[in-house]
């Protein structure tokens, strides 16, 4: 049956995605929620919580405030907190009850911005979509609002990395490895949206020759930056020497032609018995690397939001447990988060690829840095 998970976990939701994307940018993010979203986010979705003083709070919405439509409480509370903490910007993200009662986030944000003079972003999240949409809309809104519109001087062979959050790349050095791959080939990384870069770095994003969307989270931002500065973008996650060659070539072509594209090669194959389950861009990049490095074909099952043209004709968007179970019946090797294990056919082998946005912190220590060393991962597992 649709919408039931007898055995599976669930992906990080949109509201946590907003918080994760904006975590390092000096703002204050408020989840408009009674309780629970906060502890879910800071326990399972945010590995930086213990050590980093980022301002993420909940509104502690009560029954009576919801019934009476009392928006003044959240406005007053946010203004009060902003006066105490002086954030660079304010973000408000919705959850199920505010959606049900039709909370006017645009009006609330306008009022807060009027009272504080601090840029305030409303996000129409409702806790019913994945982090892809939440983190995607957060970074895109930041790009739209916080970056100067003035035409920027393009820096040759420069690039922004878009869509890097711990939800897809954990805190295991993968993002630094991406920068290293690019810099070793003579590219200057202007900024990483949004891990390890200061707001000042992001402010120079318009000067990039090209953008690299390393996850589906980065796609909306890539489109905003294209509309704003004309910057073309390439879709793909650095992963393995041969796929990286393809990716770097695609970056050069895009810088020259100004045309955006995905870097994934066609994988000709009739029968495919390797399945990768996960986020679309990283999974397709891994499938590409597997093909290029080892001549093995893999298909992707993407259970969370993605743009359809990222997936190939052999791949599938399957958000339901029953659909995934059915699709795995012919699989011999499954590369997936270990929490998918209950769905595997008995004869299938699981190659664990823990995903922070799925199993949270449970397997964090085992999340591989596939950007730095894909061979070690596959040669240990295949």
């Amino acid at each position: 049956m649709k919408q039931t998970q007898a055995f599976l976990s669930t992906y990080t939701a949109d509201v946590s995605g907003v918080c994760s994307a904006l975590f390092e940018l000096g703002g204050m993010t408020v989840m408009h929620d009674p309780s629970g979203c906060n502890s879910t986010y800071n326990t399972h979705d945010e590995p930086r919580w213990y050590d980093t003083e980022s301002l993420v709070f909940i509104s502690a919405l009560s029954e009576i405030e919801a019934i009476m439509g009392d928006d003044q409480k959240i406005i007053d509370d946010i203004v009060d907190a902003a006066n105490q903490l002086s954030p660079e910007f304010i973000a408000i993200a919705g959850t199920p009850i505010p959606m049900m009662i039709g909370t006017d986030f645009d009006a609330i944000a306008s009022e807060i911005e009027f009272q504080t003079g601090i840029p305030t972003f409303p996000f129409q999240t409702n806790g019913m979509h994945s982090y892809i949409s939440g983190a995607g809309m957060a970074l895109a809104a930041y790009a739209d609002r916080m970056l100067d519109d003035a035409p920027a001087e393009i820096i040759p062979r420069s690039v922004n990395i878009l869509g890097a959050t711990p939800l897809d790349f954990s805190v295991n050095g993968s993002v630094d490895s991406m920068k290293r791959v690019l810099e070793e080939k003579g590219w200057k990384v202007l900024s990483t949206w949004a891990m390890g870069s200061a707001p000042e770095d992001l402010a120079s994003s318009g000067q990039a020759a090209v953008n690299l969307a390393v996850s589906a989270v980065g796609l909306e931002t890539a489109k905003v930056l294209k509309a704003k500065f004309g910057t073309p973008y390439i879709i793909g996650t650095p992963c393995g020497e041969k796929f990286n060659e393809l990716l770097l070539k695609a970056l050069e072509n895009a810088a020259e032609t100004k045309k955006s594209s995905a870097a994934f090669p066609d994988i000709p194959a009739e029968e495919i018995d390797i399945v990768i389950i996960g986020e679309s861009v990283t999974s397709r990049s891994l499938a590409s690397a597997l093909h290029l490095e080892y001549g093995k074909a893999a298909r992707v099952i993407c259970p969370i939001e993605t743009e359809s043209d990222i997936l190939s004709s052999k791949d599938a968007f399957l958000p339901e447990e029953d659909e995934i179970t059915e699709s795995l019946k012919t699989a011999k090797i499954v590369i997936a988060d270990p929490m998918y294990r209950p769905l595997l056919p008995k004869e299938a082998k699981l190659i664990p690829l823990p995903h922070e946005a799925y199993s949270g912190r449970i397997y964090r220590a085992e999340i591989p840095d596939l950007v730095a060393d894909i061979r070690a991962y596959f040669e240990r597992s295949l």
Binding site: T4, A6, S9, D45, E53, S59, D80, S359
Partner: protein, 442 residues
């Protein structure tokens, strides 16, 4: 990155001297911060206490994520399933169908038939006016061999009557069948931890010849069902009160509330009440009192005048504990609590009068996110939040009173204080694990 623009010594709004504090809520409510101290149990942990029962949560995905991973981290995913609410269910009003068909689908897929299923609904059901009785009626009709009960993850109600935690501690007993009462059996109810075997209360019950039952002690579903045979329920955690009242009606069991306390007179008063209910006498247990005093003296000789900080997650009576320690000569400087229970009102007044400089700190106020988490001297914390906020590695790692009660509880706590002050702990590692005492794969 965040730029520090405020004075780190400005704790206004986040702390107050007890002399200036209001009871029961010393702080203005506003946005809330969540510290990464996760030892307190949530409704998943508590529900798992019923042996062999299966949990099904019906919520939006953001609400599901925290509970799914709670179950996974305690290695209990095989007893846990979910039904996801989407926008169309809210718009089309098919929430009843979703619950009935979703839960049915899950039960049919499970490799083993559970004796009981706990169905957790959410804030959405409450607001949409979902016909929950209809859902349970249909589920009971479809699966007559399974006991169903209604549980709730509706935090929007936490300021309206019973909190989800209180309701969970009540619903924990809703699956009990009615059985003939045994006048020599009693229950302790409402706790996540089994009450310590050495505690005054357990020793007294057993010495008086009574069989003691408690959910955390049950290892089979039948043992759990035997709780309905007891004639008396004893509770000492304020969150258990609703459960005690419920069982008076549902199971025709007496209820005796003996609040956890660190005060000699209160302990004696409550133990006398217990003795009366059991038809026996309480002699004041002078040996236990003496052992408690000696343990406190030992602790003081080690801890001396080092700052002691206490938080509300360690005990339901943080002010009673603070008062005891101050009276015994400890240098209690802070209590971390966002509000106080009515049981602590007498101690609040006493402390206001006799220790006016005691600092009361909030735990959720926004400044707690960025106030320096350091103390200028070696500090003993009692509780995980106190340890986190003061940055100390010397802390007593208990939640919810640790299962201790009475003079023996004071003795054990004093010994843990001594041990904690001498031996450092890995605060970061320990406090981030969910549900202290549960299995944890973290």
């Amino acid at each position: 990155m965040l730029k520090r623009v405020f004075d780190p010594n400005d704790t206004s709004g986040a702390s107050v001297k007890i002399s200036q504090a209001r009871f029961p809520a010393p702080f203005v409510s506003g946005l809330e911060y969540g510290a990464p101290a996760r030892g307190t149990w949530n409704i998943v942990h508590t529900g798992m206490l019923i042996p062999d029962a299966h949990q099904v949560f019906v919520c939006a995905s953001n609400c599901l994520r925290g509970v799914v991973l709670t179950a996974a981290e305690m290695n209990a995913s095989h007893r846990f399933s979910t039904v996801t609410i989407k926008e169309n269910n809210v718009l089309e009003g098919d929430m009843e169908d979703l619950i009935i068909e979703g839960v049915s689908d899950i039960i049919r897929k499970l490799p083993n038939r559970p004796p009981a299923v706990l169905v957790y609904t959410s804030c959405i059901h409450h607001f949409i006016g979902c016909d929950l009785p209809l859902c349970y009626k249909e589920l009971r009709k479809r699966f007559p061999d399974i006991a169903f009960t209604d549980c709730y993850m509706n935090p929007i109600m936490r300021k309206s009557g019973l909190t989800p935690d209180q309701i969970m501690r009540r619903q924990l007993y809703s699956l009990l069948e009615t059985r003939e009462k045994d006048p020599k059996s009693v229950n302790i109810i409402g706790n996540n931890y089994a009450t310590d075997d050495d505690s005054d209360i357990v020793r007294f019950i057993k010495k008086s010849g009574y069989t003691l039952r408690e959910v955390p002690r049950c290892t089979t579903y039948e043992e759990y069902q035997q709780m309905s045979e007891s004639f008396l329920n004893i509770s000492y955690n304020p969150a258990a009160l609703a459960g005690g009242e419920y069982l008076k009606t549902a199971q025709d069991q007496q209820h005796l509330y003996l609040p956890l306390s660190y005060d000699e007179d209160e302990i004696k008063e409550y133990m006398k009440k217990l003795a009366e209910a059991l038809g026996t006498e309480y002699d004041g247990d002078p040996e236990a009192k003496d052992r408690a005093d000696k343990a406190l003296e030992r602790a003081l000789s080690v801890i001396k005048d080092a700052p002691v900080v206490i938080d509300y997650t360690a005990t339901s009576r943080p002010l009673s504990l603070a008062r005891l320690l101050l009276e015994k000569g400890f240098n209690v400087e802070r209590v971390y609590a966002d509000s106080f229970s009515k049981e602590d009102q007498g101690d609040f007044s006493w402390l206001k009068e006799n220790c006016p400089d005691l600092d009361i700190y909030a735990t959720v106020q926004v400044k707690l996110r960025i106030l320096p988490r350091v103390y200028d001297r070696k500090t003993l914390a009692i509780g995980q939040k106190a340890a986190y906020f003061t940055g100390t590695a010397n802390f007593v790692n208990i939640v919810e009173g640790g299962g201790f009660y009475g003079f023996s509880g004071i003795e054990k706590l004093a010994d843990l204080m001594t041990e904690a002050f001498i031996e450092e702990k890995d605060t970061r590692c320990l406090i981030q694990r969910k549900g202290l005492g549960c299995e944890s794969c973290i």
